[in-house]
């Protein structure tokens, strides 16, 4: 059997638009920052530390993108009026399903092959989640001089949207999602005219981007915490005499404290329910100076 590698030779289209490398770099770094901001939003909305990373960018005809993305997905097409460009955001079926699970307070589950159609509630939750993703994307575009995006059509199949002709060239950014049992991907595609409108960031802005990235990574670091139900002092003699089966009351009826590093961070209301404990954050007693116990 031959193990010879067959290299795929791609035809070079003469009408293929040219994008200067520095503009492509600017677009890539802009979309990487959007990925960081999406990860952070996932963390803040669901408490799940999943990472959304911009893995690759490519320059391809819309026809090829349509062939790759044939599975139904949540798609929103938009225009960037200031940049005179069109674009789309595609959220894969697996990620859509996982976002619904998380929004409903469940663990993210793998998608069954024959996945049932979405209920009206699930559709609304997906719409809400994609709107949030589009919001972060819009902020990134506005900061780079492309202007805010306006959604003009939503759908589930790329071919049905009618945003691009099949021979139109698009710049495609592919994001993968990993962590917290969440899987799936996001695709952002933009018309090539966007490359002419993007503003290359100045050096300090680049440094800001790096700083933002570091800050976001630091924000994802896990902090070890304890939920304290109460503390009190006892004479050593009483402590020595304690035996299994002894009972004693705890101070505070339904109060608790969130502790980090031996200090009090936040007071809580503790509500015991079957199979779970609900810890409600209380605003009035946030321990500003991280008091020692």
């Amino acid at each position: 059997m031959s193990t010879e590698k067959v290299e795929k030779i791609e035809k070079y289209d003469l009408w293929r638009p040219v994008v200067r490398p520095e503009r492509r770099d600017t677009l890539e770094s802009l979309h990487q920052v959007v990925g960081v901001s999406w990860s952070q939003s996932l963390l803040e909305s669901f408490g799940r530390s999943a990472t959304i990373t911009c893995e690759a960018s490519s320059f391809e005809p819309f026809q090829r993108l349509s062939e790759t993305e044939q599975e139904p997905a949540e798609i929103a097409a938009f225009v960037l009026e200031r940049a005179q460009a069109s674009g789309l955001l595609l959220v894969s079926r697996q990620l859509t399903r996982n976002l619904i699970d998380l929004r409903l307070g469940e663990e993210a589950q793998p998608v069954a092959q024959e996945s049932p159609t979405l209920t009206p509630l699930e559709s609304a939750l997906v719409r809400d989640a994609t709107t949030s993703l589009l919001g972060h994307l819009s902020q990134g575009y506005a900061a780079s001089g492309l202007g805010e995006l306006k959604v003009n059509v939503r759908g589930n199949q790329l071919q049905d949207l009618g945003v691009f002709d099949s021979e139109d060239y698009v710049i495609v950014f592919r994001y993968t999602v990993s962590g917290a049992n969440i899987a799936g991907y996001i695709v952002v595609a933009l018309s090539t005219t966007v490359a002419n409108a993007v503003v290359a960031p100045s050096a300090p802005l680049k440094a800001d981007t790096e700083h933002t990235r570091l800050r976001s990574q630091a924000a994802m670091l896990p902090v070890e915490t304890e939920i304290l139900l109460g503390s009190w002092t006892v004479p050593l003699q009483e402590l020595i005499e304690l035996r299994p089966g002894d009972t004693f009351p705890l101070p505070g009826a339904d109060e608790g404290v969130l502790m980090t590093g031996g200090g009090r961070l936040l007071s809580l209301k503790v509500d015991f329910q079957p199979r779970l404990v609900k810890l409600w954050a209380q605003a009035q007693r946030r321990f500003k100076n991280h008091e020692k116990d």
């Binding site: 952070q40 963390l43 803040e44 909305s45 669901f46 408490g47 530390s49 307070g105 630091a218 924000a219 994802m220 670091l221 896990p222 902090v223 070890e224 915490t225 304890e226 939920i227 304290l228 139900l229 109460g230 503390s231 009190w232 002092t233 006892v234 004479p235 050593l236 003699q237 402590l239 020595i240 304690l242 035996r243 299994p244 089966g245 002894d246 009972t247 004693f248 009351p249 705890l250 505070g252 009826a253 608790g256 969130l258 980090t260 031996g262 961070l265 936040l266 809580l268 503790v270 015991f272 079957p274 199979r275 779970l276 404990v277 609900k278 810890l279 409600w280 954050a281 605003a283 116990d293």
Partner: protein, 97 residues
């Protein structure tokens, strides 16, 4: 007063810890009023707590309620302190904000 009596009169700080969680810094920073952290508990079992003395694990106990007050019942005195693992949790943000 003899020395042993003096020692037995010394007071130590005891605390009851419900659970340990690993929470990303961003979540801790963003916790606001009426945000809710839900911690999974095994079904049909009284909630367990760890009793610590001056920060060191001393005993394990179960929690129960009587006449609106919370009590603990010691189930085990711990000679070789080994803390339990981290529990699963989920954050539910306050939708009214």
């Amino acid at each position: 007063m003899r020395k042993t009596e003096l020692v037995s009169q010394l007071r130590v700080t005891m605390s009851a810890v419900l659970c340990r969680l690993r929470v990303p810094a961003a979540v801790l920073g963003s916790l606001g009023e009426n945000d809710c952290i839900e911690v999974a508990q095994p079904a049909d079992v009284a909630p367990a707590v760890e009793l610590k003395v001056n920060g060191k694990l001393f005993a394990r106990a179960t929690l129960f309620e009587r006449e609106g007050s919370r009590f603990v019942r010691i189930t085990e005195l711990v000679s070789a302190p080994a803390q339990g693992g981290y529990q699963k949790w989920c954050l539910v943000k306050n939708a009214m904000k």
